[in-house]
């Protein structure tokens, strides 16, 4: 008999690995991403490719530079890149997309020590950086289903790195922007079925919801977070709408902007969301409240990104006060 190997208990492990979860999140994001490519064309495709590519390159670089655990094969860098790309406007210059990925991975993930250590959702850190650095380029929207979307790129896409992007001939506005600045509402069905302008991956709320629901059923994201976010948004906006018809109703709020992507894929990011029951609900409700507050009373049309980032910051605090109740009570 060969020498026997020793290992601590338990000697059985569940089949599910980190990489398995991460890749499933990627697959679940694909339908919405593909819809984005379908509706916005070549530019959207290239933004997604550049984001994922740059995120992987950056992750590889930082991982080897700092001798960190984790690797490209765990899929976390792909998720970051994909999520970032899906939350960018289709006409964003590709160099900005690459820079966003670099910031997301570098500042959002590896500054904290790599996979599992970061406090803020890396993709949102990258996006917040871009939004604050290049507000003009980040709020230039393209209408969906342009006839030549698969023949030519949008004007902004191939801007020389660090140069000011050219303007596109045709520009659109997001449903939230229309509501905020022009007081125009949009059809609920258009919102859910991806018929509006917006970020690449956020327009088709139904597809996002499908992917998220699949993950929730397979327990690869915590269903309580999206339910808490959507529930609180629905209730708050419902009440506000009843009191003052200028405020949008619950369905509009749920279908518009990045709410679905945020609620199902950003807020539920395992690393940056709480693990204790009480904190999970508080976290979700806080995000919902902040989204409503920023959309209703802030100067910006959209607030999902800020809401989630701020809620990320509260996670350690929330968890401190919501440790699970002891079995059998305290001695």
């Amino acid at each position: 008999m060969k020498a026997l190997l020793l290992k601590g208990a338990p000697h059985l492990n569940s089949e599910r690995t980190t990489a398995y979860i991460m890749w499933h999140v990627c697959w679940a994001l694909l339908p919405a991403a593909l819809w984005g490519i379908w509706s916005f064309g070549l530019s959207a495709l290239s933004v997604l490719v550049v984001c994922v590519g740059a995120a992987c390159l950056a992750d590889f670089g930082f991982t080897s530079r700092f001798h960190r655990l984790g690797s490209l094969s765990d899929g976390s860098a792909v998720i970051t890149g994909l999520l970032l790309g899906m939350t960018l406007p289709p006409s964003v210059p590709l160099w900005m997309a690459a820079l966003g990925s670099l910031v997301a991975i570098g500042l959002g993930k590896h500054a904290f020590g790599g996979l599992g250590q970061n406090l803020f959702n890396p993709a949102l850190v990258g996006r917040a950086f871009l939004q604050a650095a290049f507000p003009a380029a980040m709020t230039r929207w393209t209408p969906p289903f342009l006839s030549d979307r698969f023949q030519s790129f949008l004007a902004g896409s191939w801007t020389i790195p660090f140069a000011r992007p050219q303007l596109d001939a045709i520009s659109g506005a997001t449903p939230l922007g229309l509501l905020k600045f022009d007081h125009m509402s949009s059809h609920i069905s258009d919102l859910f079925l991806g018929q509006t302008a917006g970020c690449i991956g956020e327009t088709a709320s139904v597809l996002v919801l499908t992917g998220g629901a699949y993950l929730a059923l397979r327990r690869m994201l915590d269903w309580r977070i999206p339910i808490a976010v959507m529930g609180s948004v629905f209730v708050i906006s419902g009440v506000a709408n009843q009191l003052n018809a200028n405020y949008p109703d619950g369905l509009f709020m749920l279908g518009s902007g990045g709410l679905m992507v945020g609620a199902w894929f950003m807020a539920t990011d395992m690393v940056t969301s709480p693990v204790t029951t009480g904190a999970i609900w508080l976290f979700g409700v806080l995000i919902g409240f902040l989204i409503c507050a920023i959309r209703f009373w802030g100067g910006l049309p959209e607030g999902v990104m800020y809401a989630i980032l701020i809620a990320n910051a509260t996670v350690p605090l929330l968890e401190r006060f919501t440790q699970p109740k002891a079995f059998g009570g305290q001695p």
Partner: protein, 432 residues
């Protein structure tokens, strides 16, 4: 839906030996009998080197309250009294017994049968029989049978959950000794003055439930619980069946319950009234490196290597585990003996070993922990050397069931972190 506790995990059951009746093997040429096989003080040796012993005669006596006596598992001669190895890597006093060629299975009483109507004498007889919890914890049984003044025990709970994968020893005991289990539990009920006996069996052993029901004559309450790990942990079984929670750091007696394993209950009925000592137990031998897996009635002290050879072990076996796969210890030394607490011996060809990655805070462990702890937070504190943090997150409530490490997608050896932190805590001077 059958009752259960909150959280927990569902490892694969892998109960391949459930259909295999209990068999005996031959005696090993040499048996290694540690004097401390139970929780509490080691027993005191009462034999000398060279002395001839009959199977069943007393070889070591438990003299303090929390201790248990030990009896010769085979007819033979004492070859050595000295240090033996333990799976934990420590050394402990023990007796090496050379078995007599052609020794028989007959089992001699070491004392006169006790008077079953005298509770004091009866409990004493349990202690002298060397009975300990056969589920794995090996807590001396008689200690549980002495209710301190002012305490009231209303329920005797017999634990037939056997939630560990692979293990079927308790299952076979329920199928083959149902009458003993019932009468043993009724004896316990009588001495404790309890109101009822509840036997909890996991739903994957319905044949055992039927067997027990046939034997019970409606004197005991047989209940089915959900198949879930760690349903066999006594706190979890009490929660499932009685909806009572044993307080942190407390014992089942604190909520009026005494829990015993099915094999323990059976052994009470088989041994104590006849004045016999505990010399053997059912051990499940299984795993993909075993050619003849099964359930064996193994004399205490039989070396693991002998047991595996008798059951046919393949040459490329890479890992041997004493106990179940969730809480058992892997061993490298096959001279280690089967003790009263060994419920299984598992041998595997592959040493399935995952590289552990960083914690991604998925929270699976929080949703798995039956004690409703936050294993990820304890692990962070333990790894960062923050022992105060460990205590705040109630590390001491952890009973190392391994549910957290089982579900961890990053394959972090959480239980090892907890063990180490508990050791460090013990080394720390007690705060005044």
């Amino acid at each position: 839906m059958f009752p259960t506790f909150a959280r927990g995990v569902h490892p694969p059951q892998l109960k391949t030996t459930a259909e295999m009746p209990v068999r005996r093997l031959g005696f090993a040429p040499e048996l290694h009998i540690p004097l401390g096989q139970h929780i509490g003080a080691p027993a005191q040796c009462v034999v000398k080197v060279g002395q001839r012993l009959e199977r069943g005669s007393l070889i070591a006596e438990g003299r303090s309250f929390v201790s248990a006596s030990i009896h010769a598992p085979v007819t033979g001669t004492v070859r050595k009294i000295g240090w033996l190895a333990t799976p934990q890597g420590q050394r402990i006093q023990g007796i090496v017994l050379a078995s007599e060629p052609g020794a028989g299975q007959e089992h001699v009483p070491f004392r006169a049968p006790p008077d079953l109507n005298d509770p004091g004498q009866w409990v004493d007889a349990v202690a002298r029989s060397g009975l300990v919890g056969l589920g794995g914890a090996a807590f001396p049984t008689h200690v549980k049978l002495k209710v301190p003044d002012g305490r009231n025990v209303d329920t005797v709970m017999i634990n037939g959950a056997e939630c560990e994968p692979y293990l079927t020893a308790d299952h076979r005991a329920m199928l083959e000794w149902p009458d003993d289990i019932v009468s043993g539990s009724l004896l316990m009920k009588k001495v404790l003055g309890a109101e009822r006996v509840v036997i909890g069996v996991e739903a994957n052993k319905m044949d055992a439930v039927k067997a027990l029901e046939r034997a019970s004559n409606n004197c005991v309450d047989i209940r089915v619980v959900q198949v879930k790990y760690p349903q066999g942990a006594e706190k979890m079984l009490i929660r499932a069946l009685l909806r009572r929670e044993v307080p942190a750091g407390g014992l089942p007696m604190d909520v009026g319950v005494v829990v015993a394993n099915v094999q323990t209950a059976a052994m009470i009925a088989r041994l104590v009234p006849k004045g016999l000592g505990l010399v053997e137990r059912i051990v499940t031998v299984a795993g993909d490196a075993v050619e003849k897996p099964g359930n064996y009635l193994v004399p205490i002290g039989t070396p693991v290597g002998f047991l595996l050879q008798s059951a046919g072990v393949v040459p490329d076996c890479q890992r041997v585990i004493l106990g179940g796969p969730m809480m058992g210890v892997s061993v490298a030394d096959l001279q280690l003996p089967i003790t009263k607490g060994t419920s299984g011996v598992l041998a595997f060809k592959t040493a399935q070993d995952h590289e552990s990655g960083p914690c991604i805070r998925c929270g699976y462990c929080v949703q798995a922990c039956p004690m409703s702890l936050n294993p990820a937070a304890i692990m962070r504190s333990a790894r960062g050397g923050d022992l105060d943090g460990c205590v705040q997150y109630r590390l001491r409530d952890c009973f190392e069931c391994g549910s957290c490490a089982f579900v961890c997608p990053s394959k972090i050896p959480l239980v090892q972190y907890f063990r180490q932190a508990k050791l460090d805590l013990r080394k720390q001077p007690v705060a005044v």
